[in-house]
């Protein structure tokens, strides 16, 4: 068994890969950037060059189709010319009430609208924040040292990112309405590197919703995003990513890092509808006593889409709680991978931690892989993890049909409900309704 495996691997081993990029893909904003930042960029670039491409032997890439992560001749994204259309699209596809709205197209800020930001809250494109509040950015920018396999992507991101938003909510400040960020991307072999850095100081509160959309159709572009969420004592952050890139072509990598201080709460969600290949990583550290991280995902994969998600719930203090609910609905030849680990660090007594991945298989050829995991090194701990895969039950369809709903519609309603179980855990009626509608829209387009 082991011999055949290693033989197969050596046979399919790629020849020493050409670098993905010929030069650091930093875009052309001329700025007076702080030294620490430019140093971080060049160190990241060196690290990127040193790091090997992902290999199948690596547990963090188990089940992944590595053919999807071979890149070459990529370039930094170039400006797009139909900016006005994109801004209109962004305005059409947003929740009605928001604190501020920023639209980026291929790494460049193309629109911003501040509707209702309280005094003291800093909300700026990251390149401006670097110039105006360099020290604030530095404190939490890409401070998570670990990845769940995506270190090469993370290093590249560090070498390149200059777009995205920096939000700092000072002590006691509550931003009632969500901050919205649209990222449009496109152009064959062009890459964007959106970064979102959100810090909520003591008892501060903020909700952010990020939209990833394609400029065109079926372009072979790449998005490598990274999100840092830091909540100090009693702080409260919700972060939602809605990825609805074009189904064929675009690839999307997103690495989230959450750090919750004493009694802080961080809720984060990935909703994936588009892209040909997606890699999501989510590292959640409950660092302060009583802190809580909730991680949700709803993914609708069809055609040959592959969604690969890896998570860590790390309990590093006493009385910490976390809950994870990932839901995948799969059709056609779609593949999903969920790998989740709950780690209760030594001494983190009285931890409550849950992790569930559920897969709804809508075709014979769809493939859902789940690898739940648990490591406990503390007492008085309540943990559970599990995954299920199955089809819609005939009894559920019968119940809806018995109320006059045609079988086809019943299936769609039940599948949408399946996804909604995760979406409904989020905060904000308009956000939930928007996500629900977007998922429903994709369902309507599917032949089940």
């Amino acid at each position: 068994m082991s011999t055949t495996l290693s033989k197969a691997e050596s046979e399919t081993k790629p020849e020493q890969a050409v670098p993905w990029f010929a030069a650091p893909p930093v875009h052309d904003i001329a700025l007076d950037l702080p030294t620490w930042y430019t140093e971080h960029q060049s160190e990241s670039w060196d690290r990127f060059l040193d790091l090997p491409d992902p290999v199948r032997k690596d547990e963090n890439w188990r089940f992944a189709d590595l053919r999807k992560v071979r890149f070459s001749e990529l370039v930094a994204a170039r400006p797009v010319d139909n900016v006005e259309t994109l801004v209109q699209r962004a305005k059409k596809e947003r929740v009605e009430h928001f604190a501020a709205h920023y639209v980026f197209a291929n790494n460049r800020l193309v629109y911003s609208e501040v509707a209702d930001l309280p005094d003291g809250a800093v909300c700026l494109p990251i390149n401006e924040a670097l110039v105006q509040h360099g020290d604030l950015v530095k404190e939490h920018f890409m401070k998570e040292g670990e990845t769940l396999g995506g270190e090469k992507f993370s290093a590249l991101h560090g070498a390149a990112t200059l777009s995205g938003l920096f939000i700092q909510v000072p002590r006691g400040c509550v931003i009632e309405k969500p901050v919205l960020i649209h990222h449009f991307s496109g152009g064959d072999f062009q890459a964007v590197f959106p970064h979102t850095l959100i810090t909520a100081n003591e008892n501060a509160q903020v909700s952010v919703m990020e939209f990833f959309e394609s400029v065109g159709d079926s372009e072979q572009n790449l998005v490598i995003g990274q999100v840092d969420l830091v909540a100090d004592q009693g702080g409260n952050i919700q972060y939602v990513s809605l990825q609805d890139l074009s189904d064929l072509g675009p690839k999307h990598v997103q690495i989230n890092s959450s750090r919750a201080g004493r009694d802080a709460k961080i809720k984060s969600a990935f909703v994936n509808l588009g892209a040909s290949w997606v890699r999501n990583e989510s590292i959640n550290r409950m660092q302060g006593t009583g802190s809580d991280c909730q991680i949700y995902s709803a993914n609708l994969a069809n055609g040959s889409q592959e969604y690969d998600q890896r998570t860590l719930q790390s309990h590093e203090a006493q009385h910490t709680t976390s809950d994870l609910l990932f839901k995948n609905a799969l059709y056609d030849d779609a593949r999903t991978i969920f790998s989740g680990l709950i780690q209760v660090q030594p001494g983190s007594h009285y931890t409550d931690s849950y992790q569930t991945c559920r897969n709804l298989l809508g075709s014979e050829t769809a493939e859902a892989n789940a690898m739940p995991g648990l490591e406990i090194d503390a007492d008085q701990v309540k943990c559970s993890h599990g995954s299920t895969s199955g089809q819609i039950s005939d009894e559920e369809i019968f119940y809806l049909q018995a109320r006059g709903i045609p079988a086809e519609d019943a299936r769609k309603m039940i599948s949408l409900g399946f996804m909604n179980e995760s979406i409904s855990q989020l905060t904000g009626d308009e956000i939930k309704a928007h996500l629900f509608d977007r998922v429903a829209r994709k369902f309507r387009g599917l032949d089940q």
């Binding site: 009894e395 018995a402 006059g404 709903i405 519609d409 309603m413 949408l416 409900g417």
Partner: protein
């Protein structure tokens, strides 16, 4: 008879086992009939066969709703044609809110291209929920998900009130209800009694029939209706038990 739910010589089996063995029953519009019968006699099977559940194979007999061949219709077509079953064990549909579910059921009754009036829909739903003393929070909760037994039954009656069927079968809607809830649900059913609508009420307890007074009571045994009478039959059954019916059957055989 065209103004009735008319079941003649119905045979139905599941996995080759015959459960309904030549059942005949006629519920004229405007009447309330009750069926009583021991566990396993086939009452729920009858209700699910009428609703069109695919586990049950009809091998013989007919079921006509106002002259229309009910058995020839798809499950959803039966509902839209005016048949309603309040389930003994209502299914849970996680993630689908009660309001969306009801709305989809009503929407399915409209001609293509016509949209349900959302304001009118909510107004009507709230009125009916008030009549059933159901808290408004049930509109946003997922269908039957985490509902108590009694809440599920009330939710079935809410659906019936919203869908306004021509014929409704209530399968043990009373079980799981406390006495106050029983009165509320019975009141809801009574308000729907009309010359245009027929009911078949399946129950084990005479108690329900004090509130929903039936025109006719049937006793079901081993897949057949073996005795039919007026509401005093229910009292007699409660007093003497099913043995009385079976003994009587043995004598007449």
């Amino acid at each position: 008879m065209s103004d009735s739910l008319s079941i003649q010589n119905l045979h139905a089996s599941v996995d080759g086992n015959e459960i309904l063995k030549g059942l005949s029953l006629e519920i004229p519009k405007g009447e309330v009939h009750a069926i009583m019968g021991p566990n396993g006699s086939g009452k729920s099977t009858l209700s699910k066969v009428l609703a069109g559940h695919e586990d049950y194979e009809v091998t013989e007999g007919t079921a006509l709703m106002d002259g229309e061949d009910l058995l020839a219709l798809e499950i959803d077509e039966r509902s839209r044609a005016g048949f309603f079953l309040a389930f003994q064990y209502p299914h849970e549909i996680p993630g689908v809110s009660n309001a969306n579910f009801l709305r989809a059921a009503l929407q399915a009754r409209l001609p293509k291209g016509e949209e349900i009036d959302a304001v009118g829909f909510y107004k009507e739903m709230y009125e009916k929920m008030d009549a059933l003393s159901m808290d408004r929070k049930f509109t946003g909760r997922f269908v039957n998900d985490g509902f108590s037994g009694g809440e599920k039954k009330r939710n079935e009656i809410l659906q019936m009130m919203m869908l306004e069927p021509k014929y409704a079968v209530l399968d043990e809607t009373d079980s799981g209800l406390d006495i106050d809830a029983l009165k509320i649900v019975a009141e809801g059913v009574n308000r729907m009694r009309s010359p245009e609508r027929g009911f078949l009420v399946i129950t084990h307890y005479q108690r329900l029939l004090d509130y929903i007074v039936p025109d006719v009571v049937h006793v079901m045994f081993d897949g057949q209706i073996v005795k039919t009478g007026d509401k005093s039959l229910a009292l007699e059954l409660e007093e003497k038990g099913y043995d009385w019916v079976t003994e009587e059957l043995a004598v007449s055989a």
